[in-house]
């Protein structure tokens, strides 16, 4: 599905935009880029093809065979975005400090249909963030003031408040939010924050719920007028 936001300039796809960008660079007209801040197209980039890890990879020594493809500028945008999604909080690191941008790069660079479909949403989405920032007079999303960045996200991050013309941007943000949470809470820091206590071999019968866990459950169940019978 193609959603094109028509502003002041004719519809162009992202590759055309890039061609303009490079043409502009060649002509020494870098400043003109800022002028592009008005129009935007969500045309997906060409999907990456290449080999995945195959149907019989070495499971004991996992390797990611595909090359990472995000540009330094895109990674900066990703970093700024994921740190708004999950900023540092008390003892817990920010998403970028936990390595989320690298994961996003691995994800959109993976040569599988689902990841490539998401790449088709995410890459234009990163460009959209920059475009919005430029409309606010900033050089890019990553370099924009926190107020401008939040202003952009506030329009796409709350499901009931996304204007119809930003539906695609909303989907992009929602995807990035889910990926950021998934990437973050699968790290050692994420496990610690969320309190995942598992993946620990033990001997003897399964211990089952702790006494604290059982008292909490009992109160919760009784508050609903139900009876707790131990299994």
């Amino acid at each position: 599905m193609k959603h094109t936001l028509i502003r002041r300039l004719p519809i162009v796809d992202r590759r055309t935009t890039l061609r303009w960008l490079f043409a502009g660079l060649a002509a020494g007209q870098l400043a003109a880029c800022g002028e592009l801040g008005g129009e935007f197209s969500w045309s997906p980039p060409e999907a990456l093809t290449g080999k995945g890890y195959g149907t019989d990879p070495d499971l004991l020594d996992p390797k990611t065979p595909w090359p990472l493809t995000l540009t330094a500028a895109e990674l900066k945008t990703v970093g700024a975005l994921v740190d708004l999604i999950l900023p540092a909080d008390g003892d817990w690191p920010s998403a970028s400090a936990a390595g989320v941008p690298l994961f996003i790069d691995e994800w959109v660079s993976a040569p599988y249909p689902s990841q490539q479909e998401q790449r088709g949403l995410i890459l234009p989405g990163l460009a959209w963030l920059d475009n919005e920032a430029r409309k606010g007079g900033e050089p890019s999303f990553a370099e924009a003031s926190p107020e401008v960045r939040r202003g952009i996200l506030d329009r796409v991050a709350f499901k009931d408040r996304i204007p119809p013309e930003l539906e695609t941007a909303g989907r992009f943000f929602s995807r990035m939010r889910a990926l950021t949470i998934g990437a973050y809470y699968t790290t050692a820091e994420g496990w610690k924050e969320i309190g995942y206590p598992g993946n620990r071999p033990a001997s003897g019968p399964y211990e089952g719920p702790s006494s604290e866990a059982m008292s909490h459950l009992r109160s919760a169940v009784e508050a609903m007028g139900l009876t707790l019978v131990s299994g």
Binding site: F103, A110, S114, A178, A183, Y185, I194, E207, G208, L226
Partner: protein, 562 residues
């Protein structure tokens, strides 16, 4: 060009999964020599990445077309697609066929849920006039369930539930304690008359023989090197090998059963995948356990004297009656579980408890609008966080962090697993045009659900809504209409029925001992023989039937009948 193996075996077994390995085990124990042919590569559970971390795997272990159940899943060279081994679907039909190409087959990664079929399940036609009865009754197979459960190692409890038979004394291993979210669901279920009871799974909670008890970590689908979660590569196959009577040939893609001049099976033809050579293997008895799809494919492709209907198909039932389990899901969030004290809830990873079908009386009395039952598999707890399940969260920043933390351990997934009745729309044939990379004609699937299954989904949705409501929960996402909510045929990977068992040669492919009606020394010991598809997961029943069949074959070998 065909190479002939010189040595004739007592039995040639095609397949090394649940049915093939059980047959090979029973026969070798009885002193018979067995050649096991497996299309995939050799596999050792030592390859299982039991304690590897998802974060070290590509895409954090998320499933891809290469590894649909995740990077660390045990399945080798398989999934919904096998490289260069396509299958096709009839126009307007959807079907998903999960295959593997490895020793032990899909037993290396299955869910290990092991529910016995009950008396009603073997006589469904008698009960409601739909489908067909099995030629055997629950009483016939009950002792074989006991024997199978004893050697496999199944945890569970004898509860005296209707149509959910108890096991013999001392057969079951103790079930692991229910976890908080399971007890929570049980409290709600108790109030509504919905049972939440200990599940039955092929996982050791006590050490037996060389296999260790579960150590309460490591997803079972990765394969279980310590032998706690049952798979044939840690049990039946090594035990059969230890008799000195088993020869295993991997990379052997069987495509045809050979007949001798008298019409008896003399062996099989296969392609040695390493060299591409066509070979023959000979045996006094041929046992196909290549999987419901592949067994039908081999028989349909075996066309002695140009018989285009295939082998063992005088009934015309071969390939027909294809069934899968009815599947659908509801996920809910329970505020009452928020902020509960953390402890290790990995446990045996899968079900400690489940909801067995509880409405047989109402069904028999005509008070339900669907004829067959379902059970509900439940998932929740403080599980290892993954990439999915955050789609409904809103906003960003510190509020979002709090929401993720609050949600953790407060979500429960309710999964329907229901009975499908065989129908005219669901079958497989040989595709007239398409061949795999070995030149073997491939299967073409047709599949369709009927109103029976859709109404069953509607009942599940409404029953689960009541349960969620009683526990103050919120269903996450929309609940689609039953025709949208129901799984794709084959998706639950319980496909059975393509060579069904029956009392008459005119209406079935095999008799009550899994022997083809048309060929006296040709047996089928996989899911293809199922005459009905109860809501109970099929693997345990495949093994019990295979054990019973192999015992019968061993008797016949001993008596010189074969």
């Amino acid at each position: 060009m065909v190479d002939q193996t010189t040595e004739p075996y007592d039995a040639v077994v095609v397949g090394s999964g649940a049915g093939g390995a059980m047959a090979a085990y029973v026969l070798t124990k009885a002193g018979a020599s067995v050649l096991m042919l497996e299309a995939g590569r050799d596999y050792s559970p030592d390859e299982a990445p039991m304690l590897n971390l998802s974060r070290d795997a590509p895409l954090r272990g998320t499933g891809t077309p290469d590894k649909p159940f995740g990077f660390y899943d045990a399945i080798v060279d398989g999934g919904w697609e096998v490289p260069d081994e396509p299958y096709s679907k009839a126009e307007g039909s959807d079907f998903m066929w999960f295959r593997s190409r490895m020793l032990g087959g899909r037993t290396n990664h299955w869910g290990r849920n092991s529910f016995r079929m009950g008396p009603y399940d073997f006589k469904p036609y008698t009960r409601d006039g739909l489908g067909v009865d099995w030629p055997i009754s629950y009483e016939d197979i009950s002792p074989w369930y006991d024997r199978t459960e004893r050697i496999v190692g199944v945890y569970g409890a004898n509860l005296g539930l209707e149509n959910h038979p108890d096991s013999g004394p001392g057969v079951l291993q103790p079930p692991p304690a229910m976890r908080v979210w399971e007890l929570f669901l049980k409290a709600g279920g108790d109030a509504l008359g919905v049972p939440v009871v200990p599940a039955r799974r092929a996982i050791l909670t006590r050490k037996i023989d060389e296999r260790e008890a579960c150590y309460w970590a490591s997803p079972c689908g990765r394969g279980c090197a310590i032998g706690a979660a049952f798979q044939t590569t840690t049990s039946l196959i090594p035990w059969a090998k230890a008799t000195g009577k088993l020869t295993v040939q991997t990379g052997a893609m069987v495509y045809e059963v050979m007949l001798d001049a008298s019409g008896k099976a003399s062996g099989v033809r296969y392609i040695d995948k390493a060299t591409g050579a066509h070979r023959e293997a000979r045996g006094r008895v041929v046992i196909l356990a290549a999987s419901t799809g592949e067994t039908a494919r081999i028989l349909l492709n075996s066309q002695p004297n140009g018989r285009s209907e295939g082998l063992a198909n005088s009934s015309g039932q071969l390939g027909r009656n294809l069934m899968d389990t009815v599947g659908s899901n509801i996920s809910a969030y329970f505020p009452a579980l928020e902020g509960r004290p953390v402890y290790n809830e990995d446990g045996a990873m899968g079900l400690h408890a489940y909801i067995p079908f509880w409405l047989y009386r109402e069904q028999a009395a005509g008070r339900l609008d669907f004829p067959r039952g379902y059970h509900v598999e439940i998932g929740g707890g403080f599980r290892e966080p993954g990439l999915g399940g955050y789609g409904d969260l809103d906003g960003y920043g510190s509020d979002l962090r709090r929401a993720v933390r609050g949600r953790y351990g407060a979500q429960i997934g309710l999964t329907q697993r229901g009975e499908m009745i065989p129908n005219e729309k669901s079958f497989c044939t040989i595709d007239p045009d398409l061949k795999d990379r070995h030149g073997i004609p491939v299967l073409k699937f047709s599949f369709g659900w009927s109103e029976h299954e859709l109404k069953q989904v509607a009942h599940f949705q409404s029953a689960m809504r009541d349960l969620v409501d009683r526990l103050g929960g919120t269903i996450l996402g929309d609940v689609p209409s039953p025709d949208k909510a129901i799984s794709v045929g084959g998706e639950i990977i319980h496909e059975v029925g393509t060579a069904r068992m029956g009392a008459k040669a005119s209406a079935s492919v095999v008799d009550g001992f899994n022997r083809t009606w048309d060929v006296d020394n040709l047996y089928l010991t996989d899911g293809s023989v199922f005459a009905s598809k109860a809501h109970k997961n099929p693997t345990l029943t495949i093994m019990a039937l295979a054990m019973r069949s192999a015992d019968h074959i061993a008797d016949r070998l001993r008596m010189g009948e074969l």
